[in-house]
Amino acid sequence: MSGAVRRWRANPAAVAALAVIAALIGLALVGPLFNPNDIRALDWANVATSPSSTGAHWFGTDRLGRDLFARTLEGTRVSLTVGLVASLISLTIGISYGAVAGYLGGRADQLMMRFIEVLSGLPLVFFVIFLTVLFGRSPYFLFLAIGAVGWLTMARIVRGQTLSIRRREFIEAAVASGAGPVRIVVKHIVPNLLGPVIVYATLTVPQIILFESFLSFLGLGIQEPHASLGTLIAEGAGEVEAAPWILWVPGTLLALLLLCLNLVGDGLRDALDVKER
């Protein structure tokens, strides 16, 4: 493991990206404490003012006079939460499904994989719209909906790894010493998958954030008065000629967040994927 840490440290882009992400998370959590402007307050005296470091609104205000700094922080928080929670959900489903399919093998495996192919054949957006119509537009439901369609690739990766691990001698040795199938999957196979799973999971978070922003942009995701980076961008897109900062502020932040998450994911892959220490 220490080798992985060393390889990770040797990658300055990934280290810097992790620092930026940590800063953004910190800002999203404690930033509101330092901002004098309330998130819901409408400042009629300053409608659509541009950003200034000396004025009352650091990032300016939107069309309704709401403080853009406060809104962007909330958006970041929501986007990150959606990304993390939905990733966790897809991780849990994906690992259990993939490990079971890979361990059982044979016909059960074939059946489970065909089911995944059917699901991945469905148009994703349509599927989420369908779920939203069916179950309403709660933000919690959005977590579930995105997570529930995001696990397919994870399940495939886990299944492939499981197939190769279960042929290894230590699994045979575990069977020979009387360990049952549940114990073998949980204790002897899944922990061995952690490398690729961690890497894929870090790359899933930005994907999901992007997907959530996309849904919110279309008006299907987070609803007013709540904001995510996606809804803020959608709002800004309408004002881009008159008040470009309403688009630029959340847009830049989203781009920065995604870039950093991807850099961290790549760095982790380089550090962990070097097999067989």
């Binding site: 001698e169 230590f170 045979e172 575990a174 009387g178 114990r183 061995n192």
Partner: protein, 323 residues
Amino acid sequence: MTPTLAIDALRVGFDSDGGTIAAVREVSLNVEPAECVGLVGESGSGKTQLCMAAMGLLPRGAQVSGSVRFEGREILAASPRDLNRIRGSKLTMIFQDPMTSLTPHLKIGVQLAEVLVIHAQMSWRDAERAALEALERVRVPEPARRLRQYPHELSGGMRQRVMIGMSLLCDPALLIADEPTTALDVTVQAQIIDVLRTMRAESRMAIVLVSHDLGVVAGLADRILVMYAGRVVESASAALLLRHAEHPYTAALLKCVPSLLGPRLERMASIPGSPPAAAGIEVGCAFAPRCPRAQPRCQTERPLLRKASGPPHQVACHYPLSA
């Protein structure tokens, strides 16, 4: 007394594109309590598949007939649940390659203790204490420190000791050792054989020791079975077999063991030719094409295992060496 392991007319085959491959063609074998039986043969002679059948570990596609009884219970028909209950406690196995037989991400102590938690319903705390004793029994230096180490921190010989210690945790009736020393270098081999001998004296378990190395088997086994192309071709007490081999194949194998005392050879002795393909129909004696004593009869008629000179000596050959 019921034998610890009773194998009767066991056949193991696998389907392949080129027809059915017969790994074990028909083997019967009894192992009495506290007896050590050596199983010798070249690669592909069916030794490992025989062990797998005895453990109930044959892969799903295998075609099996005959019977394997462990302490009177049929293994081939046992449910996975029952198998899991005996495997690792009463019936244990150690594998050829200790480098890959331990789960890489679990500490030695956890892997040892897990066996006791499964089989003896011990608490983790008691199990860890028992694991420590097990490592002491197999002469692992600094056992307390080893428990906290990962497999990759141990040398090959040390790992095989851990595997042996693990297999002895629940006081097994039978230990199947499938080439336990093949992956280790010669000095470590001797140490491992030594550990096995001590364990045997202390615990009175039966051992099936599989090897392609007669020297390894000779030092430990009471009785030796020689396998060729899926069949037992000779069976005798160790001392008898080493002194008076009856089957030409056994004799050839013995000649291949290099000796420090004998004349210096230009080349190591070897048996000309290679073992027959495991697919196809067998006609006559499988060893005939490589046998210096082969007669026309050997090509057409398969020799059966029958009694030879000494009391517990059986050989499958039309023209044994003493004849």
